[in-house]
């Protein structure tokens, strides 16, 4: 418990961590609260007011899109969708990566060598193209996006967790558990996994922006979420088509997307200092 308190203190002293965390929190709160306050919603069209510029009247702060829908509400929905996809996808990769890495590192020997060979050969795969293939072949659905993005990102996590586990399993408390006859799955889950939390938190913060990039890349290509739902990538894509008449349709969602990514990158970088995690081997 005292160790956790120490981390909290160091995290609060790190300016990058604090600023990016507060900004992310504010963005998420806006995405949840603003739809409650606004008289508009993300799907109502009004064809008399197509591509209207941002203004205070009627709370159309971000203007109206090519179908006269309120761009503020659409951007907030985009933030919500993008963040949800990214967080869930990262959790998928976290579960796969931690279990895989912990098992490989703990069991060791030939199993470890074999499991890591698989990871090495998967590294060579151009996953993003497989994901596109997947999206083309099967009808685009949300679940598939989560799984696909999660499936890409677990490799780094597995490598890092394995390295950490290799050193953990020689420690006294693990040996004590083994001598007491605790089963291997239980040792991995109860004794190894909790000690990986620091390193895992750091790498999750760094996988989230990657997941965001993949999701918005897919949405940008028109392979992600479907209308009238939207994500930041899809909004940027629409914005590109109207940038001469309505540049705000490109600049606002693009700026929000860049801001979110920047915050996550700074947060991950700062947390790496806080937990004093060395770069993975």
């Amino acid at each position: 418990m005292r160790r956790a308190a120490g981390f909290m203190l160091r995290a609060r002293r790190n300016r990058n961590v604090v600023v990016s965390f507060v900004l992310l929190l504010a963005t998420a709160v806006c995405a949840i609260v603003l739809p409650w306050l606004s008289p508009n919603d993300y799907s109502t069209t009004s064809f008399q007011r197509v591509l209207e510029a941002p203004g205070w009247a009627g709370m159309h702060w971000f203007g109206l899109d090519e179908l006269g829908r309120d761009q503020l509400m659409r951007t907030m929905l985009g933030i919500k969708v993008t963040l949800t996809v990214a967080v869930v996808a990262s959790l998928v990769s976290l579960v796969i990566g931690v279990l895989y890495g912990a098992v490989a590192g703990y069991v060791g020997g030939r199993v470890d060598a074999f499991m890591m060979r698989i990871v090495d050969s998967l590294y060579a795969m151009p996953f993003i193209f497989f994901v596109i293939l997947l999206m083309v072949v099967f009808e685009r659905n949300f679940l598939l996006i989560f799984v696909a993005i999660g499936a890409i990102n677990w490799l780094d996590m597995a490598r890092i967790v394995r390295g950490q586990t290799l050193s953990l399993r020689e420690r006294e408390f693990v040996q004590a558990a083994r001598l007491n006859g605790v089963s291997t799955p239980r040792i991995v889950l109860r004794h190894i996994a909790p000690n990986l939390i620091g390193i895992v938190i750091v790498y999750v913060t760094l996988t989230i922006p990657q997941a965001i990039l993949v999701e918005s890349f897919l949405s940008f290509l028109g392979l992600g979420v479907q209308e009238p739902q939207t994500s930041l990538g899809a909004l940027v894509n629409t914005g590109v088509g109207h940038m001469e008449r309505a540049p705000w349709m490109l600049l606002i969602p693009g700026g929000v997307l860049a801001l979110i990514l920047l915050c996550f990158n700074f947060l991950g970088d700062g947390l790496r200092d806080v937990f004093d995690v060395r770069q993975a081997p």
Partner: protein, 307 residues
């Protein structure tokens, strides 16, 4: 050395085979055939078309036929561009992608290494912090945001450069696509160079060079640069992969008739054979490049010994 190269070459074959088989099976698991359109074909015509594309054969036979074709560089006919084979389309489109991707990589290396070295030399000063903040921003702005913003700024508002592709009209249409592709890579390369340059500059042999009175420029030029940029070699694989994905977006935005554009069109048109062919082509490219990097590493860095 020769044995190592051979071993690595043989090791790459299963990876490639796995990629091809996976991609093939994925595409063939697709619900609906390539000829399911609004217009219902007479059964006899459809049967003939299926036979022409060998879709009536059992799956293993189709896979073997496809593998045999791929080995000979034949990816079969395109489902949409009926008069062309996939290989022809790739051969026609790839030079555009290669030119833009290659230029972007070159540009990114030059600027990235310069910026990284500069930051390492002025470590913990405001120059360093500014450069690193800029590179973090560069990493965070996705290509599909930076590319249209560049168009908006330099083509639409300032009218300095053309926004799209217009055949062979000199270097001007290349500037914006190359810049958009290069920016994130510049940022990555600058960060990598800075980190390794700091390590190298702290090493004893640099200290002794300094003690002997060698100037900073000479130290960088003759002693520090080469070991400092060596780690970049292993970034080359991921960088090329990133540039390939980026070029999909850039080609779409600038209307460049490269491989990326065909890929997107193929994906949206459900031109399975074309998409499959391009995926395999990209995968081969990346695997080959990683292989090349590993081998080059040993040739350039005498500290690496092959087992």
């Amino acid at each position: 050395m020769g044995q190592y190269v051979l071993q690595r070459l043989l090791g790459a074959i299963p990876t490639l085979l796995l990629i091809i088989v996976l991609a093939f099976l994925l595409v063939h698991a697709a619900p609906g055939g390539p000829f399911d359109e609004e217009r219902v074909l007479p059964p006899a015509v459809e049967a003939n078309m299926r036979a022409a594309y060998h879709l009536d054969e059992p799956m293993p036979q189709q896979l073997l036929r496809y593998l045999g074709g791929v080995v000979r560089g034949d990816f079969g006919p395109s489902y949409r561009y009926r008069e062309h084979s996939v290989s022809e389309l790739i051969a026609a489109a790839f030079p555009y992608s290669l030119r833009i991707g290659g230029l972007a990589m070159l540009f990114a290396l030059v600027v990235g290494i310069a910026a990284g070295t500069c930051a390492a030399l002025r470590r913990n000063t405001s120059t360093d912090r500014l450069l690193m903040a800029a590179s973090m921003t560069g990493i965070s702005i996705p290509v599909f945001v930076i590319a249209p913003v560049l168009v908006l700024l330099f083509a639409v508002k300032l009218n300095w450069l053309p926004a799209g592709w217009s055949g062979n009209s000199g270097a001007a249409p290349l500037v914006l696509p190359v810049l958009a592709l290069a920016l994130p890579q510049i940022a990555y390369i600058a960060r990598l160079t800075r980190a390794s340059m700091i390590d190298v500059l702290a090493s004893p042999y640099i200290q002794s060079a300094r003690a002997q009175g060698l100037g900073t420029a000479a130290i960088i030029r003759y002693h520090a640069l080469k070991p400092a940029i060596l780690p970049l070699l292993s970034y080359l694989g991921p960088a090329v992969a990133a540039i390939l994905t980026g070029s999909v977006v850039v080609e779409e935005i600038f209307g460049i008739p490269g491989l990326g554009q065909f890929f997107v069109r193929g994906a949206l048109n459900r031109d399975y054979t074309l998409v499959l062919g391009i995926v395999i082509f990209y995968a081969t490219l990346i695997v080959a490049l990683n292989l090349l990097v590993d081998i080059l590493y040993g040739l350039i860095d005498p500290r690496v010994r092959y087992r």
